[in-house]
């Protein structure tokens, strides 16, 4: 079994390449995904290999991209649609909430929409208000969607491949900050990281830090740099949540910090906190703290103050560790 060192862009690209070579029902569609290879180059080279019928440059209309992908999926194709930046997905929100998420339910499974909707999200490129948003709450709150976000090149491949096989529509959020930030060995053949399985990226006894996507490397670094004995859980799938991974760790540590980039109010941290305090409050020694983006739009020049950093993470960790 051979493998290659890749960054996340390459890993995602090679996954689509591999799966497309095996299955002609897979169709890519989106803005500038053809010759341009996508503005982040995630589909680079695929047009040349698979042609215009399978790598479809669309007109500039996200709701058309999502709507078409739903119709394709209901007709037996396996679309992987790209939204250029997650910030622009709201123009397709009705298609996502009222069609993509509800088709299976409203037809009792007679008609379904197993598609993958990929989109880069979060900060990291100084994109300001409209090229930096982390909107996972909008999707995770919408019953009928699977929501995934990888944190490294290895997971990216196994998760995207599982997303492609999912019978459910998947929102696949790609942390653009990590597209080229880290490299890892990625096997060349197909493998799966199952939907709904978190990963314990660091083990310890004193505190559980729950995070995902772009924040995972940051949290791991913070924990290592400061020799904290922490369980660091990379959720990987936000819906359905891996409640067992959370439960097991929290019962062990009794102290919890949740870290994400999205704004605090009704961010994933809220749900995780609520789940913990309704199911295992008797195990808690300290308040559940959230280290998150503030409840403001995402600023351009002051980006570094917006996104959680090691200092803020450690402040919260200290606070829960010292709480009595």
């Amino acid at each position: 079994m051979s493998s290659k060192v890749m960054n996340m862009v390459q890993s995602l690209n090679s996954t689509m390449d591999l799966r497309m070579s095996q299955d002609d029902s897979i169709i890519l569609l989106g803005e500038d995904i053809g010759k341009d290879g996508g503005v982040f180059r995630v589909t680079d080279g695929l047009l040349d290999k698979y042609g215009e019928e399978r790598v479809v440059d669309t007109p500039l209309v996200e709701l058309g991209i999502v709507g078409m992908a739903i119709g394709m999926a209901s007709s037996g194709l396996k679309p992987i649609a790209e939204i250029q930046f997650q910030d622009f997905i709201y123009t397709a929100m009705d298609q996502i909430i009222n069609q993509m998420a509800k088709l299976r339910y409203r037809t009792a499974g007679l008609i379904t929409a197993p598609l993958v909707l990929r989109t880069p999200y979060g900060g990291g490129i100084r994109g300001g208000l409209y090229h930096s948003q982390s909107g996972e709450t909008y999707f995770a709150h919408t019953a009928g969607l699977v929501v995934m976000t990888p944190s490294n090149p290895y997971d990216a491949k196994g998760m995207l491949s599982s997303a492609i096989d999912s019978p459910d529509p998947v929102i696949f959020l790609e942390p653009k900050k990590l597209y080229r930030a880290s490299k890892a060995e990625v096997p060349e053949e197909d493998y799966k990281i199952p939907v709904g399985k978190a990963s314990l990226v660091h083990e310890g006894d004193d505190v559980t830090i729950i995070t995902y996507g772009s924040m995972v490397p940051l949290v791991s670094r913070a924990v290592s740099n400061n020799s904290v004995s922490a369980d660091v859980i990379d959720l990987r799938t936000l819906v359905p949540l891996d409640i067992n991974a959370i439960t097991e760790s929290v019962r062990k540590t009794g102290r919890v910090v949740v870290v994400h980039e999205a704004p605090r109010t009704l961010g994933m941290g809220a749900e995780i906190s609520a789940l913990i305090s309704e199911r295992m409050i008797e195990y808690l020694y300290a308040p559940i703290l959230r280290v998150t983006g503030p409840d403001t739009p995402f600023p351009y020049r002051l980006e570094e103050y917006y996104v959680p950093n090691e200092k803020r993470i450690m402040a919260a960790v200290q606070k829960v560790l010292e709480f009595r």
Partner: protein
Amino acid sequence: MVEELNEQAQREKYVRGFGAMVLSRTLDRKLITAQRQGRVGFYTPSTGQEATQVGASMALSKEDIIYEYYRDVALMIHRGVPIEVMLDQVFGNSSDLAKGRQMPSHFVARNYNFMSIQSPVATNLPLAVGAAYAIKYRKKGNIVFATFGEGSSSTPDFHAAMNMAAVFNLPIVFMCENNGWAISTPVEKQTKTEIWKKADAYGMRGVKVDGNDFIETYKVTAEAVEQARAGNGPTLIEAVSYRMGPHSTSDDTSKYRTDEVQEGSEKDPIEVAANTLKEMGFINDNVVSRIKEESVRIVEQKFDEREKIPAPDPETMFHDVLAELTWNLEEQMREIL
């Protein structure tokens, strides 16, 4: 182009079409009355649009895929969807194909290639385009037929779907059922052009037809279907009729209009069709009476039969969110039931 038929086959085809119109109208009457009696929750009648829908349906094959809207009762009936299937949906009972999940008038019938109805108007159209893309990609030879009201031409989804269908040159026919009203909003307040002309903006063929004339509608649709099947791209058909009934059983038309068309009047498409078929010598008054009586008999009988079917098992509420029941839904099910 319409298929060449001998007189006998033509007679059968047209009289069957007429029968579907009458049956649809009969179902409308029954369900509106039943709603007033509290036996049915809600309903959006097709009354006034039967000729449009049946004419269109006559041009379609079994394999064609339909992305319909909530008012397409006559279309479904003509295509052969059993009255039972429709009544079960209206009651939302345990026999309903969709387990009683949707409001009345939100039908699905996958066996007849009806791809199910959502409420946000025109949002079926981008899906229809995707289905047409799949047909073209797989070189299947069938086409997609997608319907919507004239009010819905103002929506984002209309614009997206029309443009994409044209850009990708897809095998799809769009039919705008222009019944003059979007709830209380007349078409003149909706837009400053005729709907069929909007096709120009997408480089698509647009055509207008008298939707009260089922034979004309059949011919115009057949032409568009042929064009699509031949790989020559989409058409937008505007079929002009009139919404004779209320928007839905919740609607009070006296608030906003006085130009009502009465059932049985010369503008009623069923009267128009009856007269045409009489002139062609295909039917006479006796036949009309028989068809109407038979429709009433069927609808009454099926209504009573389907009304008795109990509600779905409460557990079903938790199914089909995702393919598998997730842990949170399992817990919530235990909590609620």
